[in-house]
């Protein structure tokens, strides 16, 4: 096995092109588990922690660019005001040690439907910036996931950054697990209200082969919410939203929970997070 340690983005792309079977590694919180347990023996590791261009974040015209090697801890510390939903989800990742290393881009690269970053990225309409020596392209987040641990990333491409619009209204995230820390989501849900355009974004995790949006639920809510009057949330409206979210899920039975439980829990999470977000909107 080879170990590559590029010191520039260009060099990283060149190595990736020359050796597409080199596995990119940043935080290592997924990759090293695979190696430690003999589940993966990639031809090489491509360590991206020495690449300066993908650290940190920047903002342009209300869009936040999250560098591929920015840790969850840094997202929580630096972006909780602009990206509340992603920061909420980041707080539920693993433990302090895991959050210090793990990255949202790594969540995308791994492509597990249970990754905690996915629901907020879907709910906020994030974009993924992919690059190779051939050039760069931008994918809307819902086009990135293809299947369980399968993504649109080409063998010679690397994730450079994730672009997330700064919050334009209340956002919430909730996750079901057996305890607070170190838990893989049984299911998770994110909601983002856009007070300007009066639209709603959603994201479902551990609910289908890929993370997904509940588009019918979004459309229903955008239409039905009393945006102008800021009335209290009607129970029937919240219930209908929960039903539509549950209907968007195609969960499986597995060791963490049954499909039936997941559908039920998603409806509960959807109602609950909507309640929190709507209260925040009303009081704003």
């Amino acid at each position: 096995m080879e170990f590559y340690r590029p010191t520039s983005w260009r060099e990283a792309l060149e190595i990736r092109a020359a050796q597409p079977d080199a596995l990119p590694i940043t935080g290592g919180t997924d990759v090293m588990v695979e190696l430690n347990f003999d589940r993966a023996r990639p031809a090489a590791l491509l360590d991206l922690t020495g690449v300066p261009e993908i650290t940190g974040w920047s903002e342009r015209e209300g869009q936040i660019q999250i560098g591929a090697s920015m840790s969850y801890t840094a997202i929580i510390a630096e972006l909780a005001d602009r990206l509340p939903c992603l920061a909420l989800a980041a707080r539920t990742v693993g433990s302090p040690q895991i959050r210090n290393r793990g990255t949202a881009a790594g969540n995308l690269g791994a492509g597990s439907p249970a990754g905690d970053s996915h629901p907020p990225l879907l709910a906020t309409g994030a974009k993924v910036h992919l690059e190779s020596v051939r050039g760069s392209r931008e994918l809307s987040i819902d086009q990135f996931y293809l299947g369980v641990k399968r993504t649109a990333l080409e063998p010679d491409e690397l994730i450079r950054s994730i672009e997330v619009p700064a919050a334009r209204g209340p956002q919430q995230f909730a996750k079901i697990g057996t305890r607070n820390a170190m838990v893989i989501a049984v299911c998770s849900f994110a909601i983002a209200l856009d007070a300007g355009s009066r639209t709603v974004g959603t994201g479902l995790g551990s609910a289908a082969p890929t993370p997904r949006q509940a588009t019918d639920a979004q459309d229903f809510l955008a239409e039905a919410l009393p945006w102008a009057d800021r009335d209290p949330l009607a129970e029937e409206l919240a219930n209908r939203f929960g039903e539509l979210v549950a209907a968007a899920a195609v969960p499986i039975d597995d060791v963490r929970g049954s499909a039936r439980y997941r559908r039920h829990a998603l409806a509960v999470l959807a109602r609950r997070t909507l309640g929190w977000a709507w209260e925040e909107y009303r009081c704003a």
Partner: protein, 159 residues
């Protein structure tokens, strides 16, 4: 491959490192620093917690090559000198926060990392900060005592 890592203030050169091995393996098996424990190898237990460039991480999830030219501090490097203990270690002893002892090094580093940044942690903050460290003897109450004590002692020492 050959690696150069600064560990507990000393420069170490390690040869014949396999590209897929972890920093934990290098520390324990190649450098004879067995303080960081090897238990779960998947970041669940925190027993291998070390500082990498000042950040608390699970050494089992750091590829050895990622530590090249970086600074590592292990539990062996916390005490001010040979035969001495760090106040956090003293507190673990005084509080009886050690049963079988296997989780202790990881907890000591995690507690050290909390106390140095937050000298007055609430119980909720202690629990959150230690959430990545498992004690299978389930001696958590004494561990909470130890961290409260360590925080109080650190404050006193700093005051």
């Amino acid at each position: 491959m050959r690696l150069t890592i600064q560990i507990n203030g000393e420069q170490h050169q390690v040869d014949d490192v396999w590209a897929g091995e972890s920093l934990l393996y290098v520390l324990r098996e190649r450098l004879g620093l067995p303080g960081s424990k090897n238990a779960c190898e998947q970041g669940e237990c925190g027993s291998c917690t070390v500082y990498l460039d000042g950040t608390a991480v699970c050494a089992c999830l750091v590829a050895a090559g990622q530590a090249q030219d970086r600074e590592v501090v292990t539990v062996e490097g916390l005490a001010p000198g040979a035969g001495e203990l760090h106040p956090v270690q003293e507190a673990f002893l005084a509080a009886g926060a050690v049963q079988c002892g296997f989780c202790t090094p990881g907890l000591v580093v995690a507690a050290h990392n909390l106390v140095r940044r937050n000298p007055e942690p609430s119980d909720a903050q202690i629990r959150e900060e230690l959430a990545g460290n498992l004690c299978r003897c389930t001696g958590y109450e004494k561990i909470m005592d130890a961290v409260r004590m360590a925080a109080a002692n650190t404050q006193e020492a700093g005051a």
